[in-house]
């Protein structure tokens, strides 16, 4: 692997500016592609694979057939249901996405050079500096591209930009060693405390994740530089959003992590990703699952606050069901800018 800084490249899904839900202030969130876990509810299925992928966005398509003609692998075909991507054959080369007149064919995951990325995020410096904002490396899980992310965070620090790292912690401690010194805020997922359920819903054992959070705790306690830690728990119906799990996580935070945690966010289930699954040709077990009700969220937040955790650090975020309407719409509490 070429580790010279100027030659470093990363596969990035999206860069979202004026992001308001990924840490303090106004932020530019960089979504790195690729994730180690396989959470069944994943809201960003396009971020799981580390490789570039193609998707077809139906309502942008004018049916001109350009993509079919340009595909060097013959992986595309036109059917009454629209363009079908044969994912066995598609190499994700992206030629069709470059030729598509309407951008209906979209390449998920583009290569970015380090300097190019830094120049992009620095454009909003005026907004960061007025809000304790900055950049958030998110994903997927940025730890999978730790060398690049390290260089990126380091460059941001050199430009006086606040850095946040959003990870599920499914990585080696070596990866953490690369990243923690350049991170101002760590957004760390703790999803399920029960090891069997964790494995059932995320496809992997939680051992490494819990080992890493203790490693991070010790890092914070023993370093004199400021590193804030936010724990984030997705509230997924039937998978994580049980009183039992929330109590267990709360008590774990209180007993094992204590004062190093600055905030515990309960993130409500989001079903806006239904279209994403459909476009990627994946069946999603949560396809028919409704958004959580506001009442449920308030109750479970109350439960979280009743644990030994400092109640002042408990927040909930995300969308809730509209109760008095037949169709499910988003209430005031939704993200102002829709995250991928």
């Amino acid at each position: 692997m070429d580790t010279k800084e100027e030659n470093l490249k990363a596969t990035i899904l999206n860069i979202q500016r004026m992001s308001t839900e990924d840490g303090p202030g106004i932020r530019t969130t960089v979504f790195f592609k690729g994730c180690g876990l396989r959470c069944s509810w994943c809201h960003n299925p396009e971020s799981i694979s580390p490789k570039p992928q193609i998707q077809w966005i139906e309502n942008k398509c004018i049916g001109c057939g350009t993509c079919i003609k340009t595909c060097p692998e013959n992986a595309l075909s036109s059917t009454p249901e629209g363009i079908i991507i044969n994912r066995e054959i598609c190499t994700g080369c992206g030629i069709c996405t470059e030729e598509c007149p309407t951008t209906a064919m979209e390449l998920l995951g583009k290569f970015w050079e380090l300097n190019e990325l830094v120049e992009e995020v620095v454009k909003d410096y005026a907004y960061f500096s007025n809000s304790e904002g900055g950049i958030t490396a998110s994903g997927g899980d940025p730890v999978l591209q730790a060398h690049f992310v390290q260089a990126f965070l380091k460059k941001c620090k050199e430009r006086d930009i606040h850095t946040a790292l959003d990870t599920c912690g499914f990585c080696s401690t070596e990866a953490l060693d690369l990243l923690l010194p350049y991170t101002d805020l760590l957004l760390y997922d703790i999803k399920q405390l029960n090891p069997e359920l964790h494995e059932k819903y995320t496809g992997h054992s939680s051992q490494k994740i819990f080992k890493n959070i203790l490693y991070i705790r010790d890092y914070i306690l023993h370093k004199d530089r400021q590193l804030n830690l936010w724990i984030r728990t997705p509230l997924i119906p039937d998978a994580t959003a049980s009183a039992e799990n929330i109590k267990a996580i709360g008590n774990f935070i209180a007993s094992e992590l204590g004062d190093v945690v600055n905030r515990w966010e309960l993130c409500s289930f989001n079903n806006l990703c239904r279209d994403k699954y459909r476009r990627l040709g994946i069946d999603w077990p949560f396809n028919d699952t409704q958004l959580l009700s506001r009442e449920f969220l308030e109750n479970i937040t109350a439960i979280a606050k009743e644990t030994d955790v400092n109640p002042d650090i408990v927040y909930w975020t995300g969308a809730t069901r509209v109760e008095d309407s037949e169709d499910e719409t988003i209430t005031q509490n939704k993200n102002p800018v829709q995250a991928i």
Binding site: R17, T20, P101, T103, Y127, S131, S325, I330, N333, P336
Partner: protein, 838 residues
């Protein structure tokens, strides 16, 4: 679903905390046509058969009225009531006749009325008055208006062929109201008298002498009208049974006994003086509220506020007086109340005032009156007039920012415009440099700039900059470059249905199909841009010279420094600072079209120039793939993409540099650039042919400095950064026009960004929004309007308009009730709401 069930779905801003008095006045106002009292135009004539009571030139910038100009002219005359003229009337000069006529009508013909509970006198002011022309004058003037080469035909031709519009219109300035408060009309009168008496006999007999006599006549009008209102208040007080109201009426009579003739002392007097003085400007100009703006209200009213507060005035009473003032300002809309209950979209009334802003040396000028005025706005909103514009800068206090963000979060859009001092002042200093008037605008006084109409920056009390007088479609130059100087499509007369033969109206820049390189096309575009600016200057002259010769406004001239000194009217070369602003319309559409031509024809060779031109002639029908590429693949301004924004900057430099070269011949007013698109970007979208950016004919053009609709896919910060760069950005060496800031547009540029209300859902997010505003101060443009609307809510409002009557949205610097505007524009606003979708 029945209507009542859907009514509660979204919360709409309602007025709050209003006293029974204000509640009644406000509710009464909104009864509209059902009101017994209103401020509808009354029309007054000298009684001569050739009389004209309607100055159509004021409406040359309102294309919606073109069809009715002749109708208005004759119908106004038909319904006009005769005024008994002074025996010497026809011996006087035109400005003297006009000054006397307006005064006679306002004092002795138009009834004086006080609405129940009102604390401010001065009710009716909307007039259409005789132009006071002799037969000879009327004939001479008509010769300049009518005929194939007349001003009207020229104006119509310019508009029909998609160039835009131009005309010498009313208002759009900040009269020297501060002077009236400080020295009273008496002081102004005495000053005129002194100037007149110091003239030689010969000078007194000249036009200069006549102008000063006319201004003296006009300067006595507020005194005479106040006397009438004082008498009325006294009569009402005598009859009044409720002691508290009796006292109020007595107080009003006392106030009117002093102001506006004498300097104001108390806050109540100051507001009374201000209102009467202001409403008579609208009477004088025969136009309701056309950007006649108040300037820095919280600065020049502050001494009176502080005086009264320290003498025991209850702060709430001070606000109550202001609220009465608010109601009065809204009655401007009564002018043609029976024509349209639809207030807003076709009403370009912008009685604007500024709040806060910078003082000398970057200090902040926010004060208690600033907050009191913000409270008044908050409690009265939704309401249309007067229009607030809050000035922000690097040292704006957090308390102010928090207050305005609170207000934004509880309204559907910000109930005010925001102006950004650093960028605005850079523009004003550039103007001073370009026009060589640094003695009038410089680093020591530029902080006292203020905005008129919506966001158009000028100085106050000595400046007429004609801020909406020329509205030029920059895109037209792209069309002419494609065709070598001809319209892409033949113009079809709506009345006859006959298409006109296409002729060469622009410059002959050659056959675009033969251009070998992008540079050739750019050269043609440069030539055509120069040409359309020249054409707009010629067109403007046609109406400017008519106004200067035939339509003096001597009353307004008393309130603009320079007029008395020179003995020249404000419609002539009276004002110390005088510009004509060319408002560049369709900026982003033009920039995106240039980018698309370069991308499609030269860089990617997706098509030939001939194919592109054919596609535009066919309105993209049969060329959908090419259109899709133009829309989706070609670069666009507004994404903080340096490549595209560089093109925006180049286009900006080109047209603004060219604009500065022109001066009106008849009045010696220099041209200056700005970007306010009022609603032209909507209407002209149906006139202008399809454009290379993928836009078909019939779709809206871009608005002011905003990116094309849907092009701002990288969100609000990218959008703001692009606007700042297009205006000139910042100097790397710190040496800009004002500190490091540059601005090509002294007038400023209208910028609208729509946010989802959830961005302001809690304190944490409000802080983020505050950071956005602070970032905008650094990187953005000169003015910002914030819409805070959920697309779902708008769709709901489309479905159930009766439940969303008060849903106020802002489009290009003026307010409109969402449910009262056309379906197309509603759809446009809904589409605009989503930043992330094209």
């Amino acid at each position: 679903m029945n209507e009542s069930a859907s009514a509660v779905k979204y919360k709409i801003k309602e007025p709050m905390g209003l006293s029974p008095r204000i509640t009644w006045l406000r509710d009464y106002y909104f009864e509209g046509v059902n009101r017994k009292w209103n401020n509808e135009y009354t029309v007054w004539t000298t009684g001569t058969p050739w009389d004209i009571c309607y100055e159509e030139i004021s409406y040359y910038i309102v294309p919606e009225t073109y069809t009715f100009l002749q109708t208005f002219r004759s119908s106004m005359h038909q319904i006009a009531q005769p005024v008994k003229l002074h025996d010497d009337f026809w011996k006087w000069s035109l400005p003297e006749r006009r000054a006397w006529f307006i005064r006679e009508v306002m004092v002795n013909y138009v009834p004086q009325e006080i609405l129940p509970g009102d604390l401010i006198a001065g009710a009716r002011f909307n007039l259409q008055a005789s132009r006071c022309w002799t037969k000879k004058e009327a004939k001479a003037r008509d010769r300049l208006i009518y005929g194939k080469k007349g001003a009207r035909a020229k104006m119509k031709c310019f508009h029909d062929h998609g160039y835009g519009n131009a005309g010498a219109t009313s208002g759009h300035l900040i009269p020297d109201y501060k002077k009236v408060l400080d020295i009273g009309w008496k002081g102004i009168y005495e000053d005129l008298e002194k100037k007149y008496n110091s003239m030689s006999n010969r000078e007194q007999k000249s036009g200069k002498g006549a102008q000063l006599r006319a201004m003296m006549t006009a300067a006595a009008m507020p005194r005479d009208l106040a006397a009438k209102y004082a008498a009325l208040c006294r009569r009402l007080a005598q009859r009044e049974l409720v002691p508290s109201r009796k006292e109020e009426l007595q107080q009003m009579a006392d106030n009117l006994g002093r102001v506006p003739w004498e300097p104001a002392e108390t806050f109540h007097e100051a507001v009374q003086s201000l209102w009467l003085t202001h409403m008579l400007v609208m009477s004088d100009e025969n136009y309701p509220g056309p950007g006649v703006s108040f300037g820095r209200l919280d600065q020049y009213l502050l001494p009176f506020w502080e005086h009264s507060i320290s003498n025991g005035m209850d702060r709430e009473l001070g606000k109550e007086i202001l609220k009465c003032f608010w109601i009065h300002a809204n009655t401007a809309y009564d002018a043609m109340i029976r024509v349209g209950g639809n207030q807003g979209i076709t009403a370009g009334f912008g009685q604007l005032f500024n709040l806060s802003g910078m003082g000398p040396d970057g200090t902040d000028m926010t004060n208690d009156l600033t907050y009191a005025l913000l409270e008044v706005i908050d409690e009265m909103t939704p309401i249309l007039e007067p229009k607030p514009n809050v000035r922000l800068h690097r040292n704006s206090p957090d308390e102010l920012l928090d207050k305005i963000i609170d207000m934004i979060s509880s309204s559907q859009g910000a109930p005010f415009l925001l102006n950004f001092d650093e960028r605005s002042m850079a523009g004003m200093l550039r103007e001073a440099k370009m026009a060589g008037i640094q003695h009038l605008i410089n680093e020591n006084n530029v902080h006292d700039y203020a905005s008129v109409g919506c966001l158009e920056n000028t100085m106050a009390g000595n400046d007429r900059s004609g801020t909406v007088d020329i509205n030029l479609n920059l895109l037209k130059a792209v069309e002419l470059a494609l065709t070598g100087g001809k319209d892409l499509l033949p113009f079809t007369d709506m009345m006859t249905g006959k298409p006109e033969k296409i002729y060469r109206d622009g410059a002959n820049t050659g056959d675009a199909a033969s251009f070998a390189a992008w540079e050739d096309f750019w050269k043609a575009y440069v030539t055509q841009t120069k040409l359309i600016i020249k054409k707009s200057a010629e067109l403007y002259e046609a109406s400017e010279k008519v106004r200067a010769a035939f339509s003096p406004t001597p009353y307004l001239s008393c309130l603009v420094k320079g007029c008395a000194e020179k003995g020249r009217d404000v419609t002539q070369d009276g004002p110390e600072i005088r510009f004509v602003t060319v408002e560049g319309v369709t900026f982003a559409t033009a920039v995106d079209s240039l980018l698309a031509v370069k991308y499609l024809v030269f860089d990617k060779k997706e098509c030939t120039m001939a194919e592109l031109i054919q596609a535009l002639r066919d309105n993209w029908a049969g060329h959908e793939v090419l259109q899709a590429k133009a829309k989706n693949r070609a670069p666009k301004y507004g994404r903080d993409d340096n490549y595209a924004d560089e093109m925006a900057r180049t286009v900006m430099d080109l047209w603004t540099d060219e604009t500065w070269k022109y001066t009106t011949k008849s009045t010696n007013r220099r041209f200056r650039p700005g970007m306010l698109s009022w609603n032209y970007w909507v209407g002209d979208g149906y006139i202008m042919a399809a454009s290379p950016d993928g836009r078909p004919k019939g779709q809206f053009l871009s608005n002011a400095i905003c990116p094309s609709n849907g092009a701002d896919i990288n969100g609000p910060t990218a959008n703001a950064n692009s606007a700042g760069k297009a205006l000139g950005g910042k100097a790397a060496d710190g040496k800009g026009d004002w500190n490091e800031y540059f601005s090509n547009l002294p007038n400023g540029a209208s910028h609208t960004i729509t946010f989802n209300p959830s961005l302001l859902r809690d304190q944490e997010h409000r802080k983020k929004f505050k950071a956005f505003l602070k970032g905008y101060i650094e990187n953005g443009g000169s003015a910002l309007q914030i819409n805070m609307i959920d697309a779902d809510m708008l769709r709901e409002a489309q479905k159930h308009p009766q439940n969303y009557r008060h849903l106020l949205v802002r489009v290009t610097g003026y307010n409109a009730y969402f449910t009262s505007i056309g379906r197309e524009l509603q759809d446009e606003i809904i589409a605009r709401e989503s930043h992330n979708q094209y």
